[in-house]
Amino acid sequence: MRFADSVGLRAFAGAFVLAVVAVLSAGCGGGTTSTTTVTCRDPNVCVADEVVLQNAPTGPNTTEIVVDSGPSGGFVLGVTNVPYVSVTVCQPGTSQCATIDHVLLDSGSYGLRVLKSKVASLGLAPVDVAADAASGTPAGTAAECYAFVLGAVWGPLARADVRIADELAPDISIQLIDDGSTKSPSLPANCQSNAQGGLLDSVTQLQANGILGIGMIGVDCGVSCLTSAYPGGYVVYYSCPPSGAACQPAGLPSSTQVRNPVTAFAVNNNGTMVVMPPLPELGAKVARGRLVFGIGTQSNNQLPQSARMYQVQTDPFSANYLYVGLDVAGRAYPQSFIDTGSNALFFSDPGISKTCNVSSGGAGGWYCPTSTWRQSGTLTDMAGMQGSFDLAVGNADTLFTIGAAAFSNLGGDAGQGAETFSIGMPFFYGRTVFTSIWQQRLAENGPWYAF
């Protein structure tokens, strides 16, 4: 069924709504329950209007995660499984703040990036870069081209207090994503080409007002960006002279690079815990869960006895650096990762049908199996620790037709033969997933996942 048909179908269905309120036991420990409100357009096609995790961890180190249809409101095809949080950005040491909703929660990157227009009134101070005669870097203020596999964000760095829940990251570097039609400072050509597929420079492009990177690393570039010269790679940091002349490549010390805000919290600074409710087979229009800061630092963020820990590869000279291994249905994916920023399970399995009516979801399109694909996946960590979990991929045409925003069974092709498996948002529903931060103090140090 084409999407255009489904709009009419949903409007039509309104007259036949049968509302059911069900309380499901989530079974994720601590007596947590989730509430599901369901609408059926006929007895066979029921979709959850909203799934909420009740009394999931509360407390000053927690905030809500919402998976909904995005910052522009209304239903946007394909805005699925994007987890959002609210973040408050302040002029350091003051109560002059802006609270920004619909900031994409990304466990696969590091640092806070918000649309420049959302904090324009705060007049945040830039990050200065000293001249470096040896490399030819002029004195100026720092700007960054932060790239993803597809897309990149461009804009200046700024110093800010970052507040999430009752946590405070005082006076850290964040990036302001330039969402103006004329970029200031001007966009370097190198950044334009770094943004494979196009620059992410608007709410429409990002489907978010910013990106909150809470992944396993403390700063967003580290040693690779200490100097301006990096053979073979795109430029990350720039110094933009006050004269308005073109920005030039620059090195930045770790202290002024964009910082993972979690590492700057006073106590709950060694990782995060993401708790999402289980979803019905056909998904939910809204799903609400919790983001908890710290691991083992409070009564509400203890690693349960039942949780297994998976260390990612920490040898930077290994091709599997920052990855874990995953085996599914006889296929090996040695470069796999668990990631809230991936809105589906992205992997390559030529045995699953990609014949879909909906447009491409990523590399090679969504998966549309005739019946739900179900497999067990086995994770293998750096130390050989193994554990299994269940994976499901439903038919993307069916799922998108329903008009929900949260799905536990959406899959897409990562590119034929690619040895990677993005264990994205679908994995998180009905689970508590811990992500530790490297070089922060933990009962077991290192970057790891646990669930």
Binding site: T80, L150, S224, P231, Y321, S359, G362
Partner: protein
């Protein structure tokens, strides 16, 4: 498949040492002027499967980029494992534009993109990962040595 060591060139590990040339995908390796590597980088020829040689650029942060060169001296494949995304303009040459155009629709889908795939004409590109861990490979079908398996590009 028989693995042979083609050569082990001198490691150029010091800042300011001129690194040997590199060419983009589909170009002859010898056609490009030497460039100056400004940071600690080593470049060497490493083991390769029969019918090809490999030039590897390895950086102090653990990043590596390998170029596969066929018997005609043409770079037929590139594989990378890098902390910062490799400059595809530099490594894929004019094929970078083909890649960009092919992924434009995918890039505009909501959510962050952690994998991308192009299989168009002669060109195949697989690119995936996240900041700090970018991985992938690209090759030209017409330039692959006969009997070569693309999973040997890594």
């Amino acid at each position: 498949m028989r693995r042979i060591v083609v050569a082990v060139a001198a490691l150029l590990t010091m800042a300011g040492v001129a690194a040997p040339a590199h060419a983009a995908l589909g170009e002859p390796l010898s056609s490009v002027q030497s460039e100056q590597a400004k940071t600690r980088a080593s470049r060497s020829s490493v083991a390769a499967a029969s019918g090809a040689s490999v030039q590897e650029l390895r950086l102090a942060d653990g990043s590596s980029i390998r170029q596969y060169v066929n018997a005609q001296g043409i770079v037929f494949a590139v594989a990378w494992s890098t902390r910062i995304k490799p400059d595809f303009g530099q490594w894929l040459g004019h094929h970078a534009a083909t890649f960009d155009a092919a992924v434009a629709d995918a890039a505009r889908q909501p959510g962050l993109k952690r994998s991308a795939m192009v299989d168009q004409g002669d060109l195949v590109v697989q690119s995936f990962g996240r900041p700090g861990a970018f991985n992938g490979k690209a090759w030209l079908k017409s330039q692959l040595p006969s009997s070569w398996q693309t999973d040997a590009i890594r």
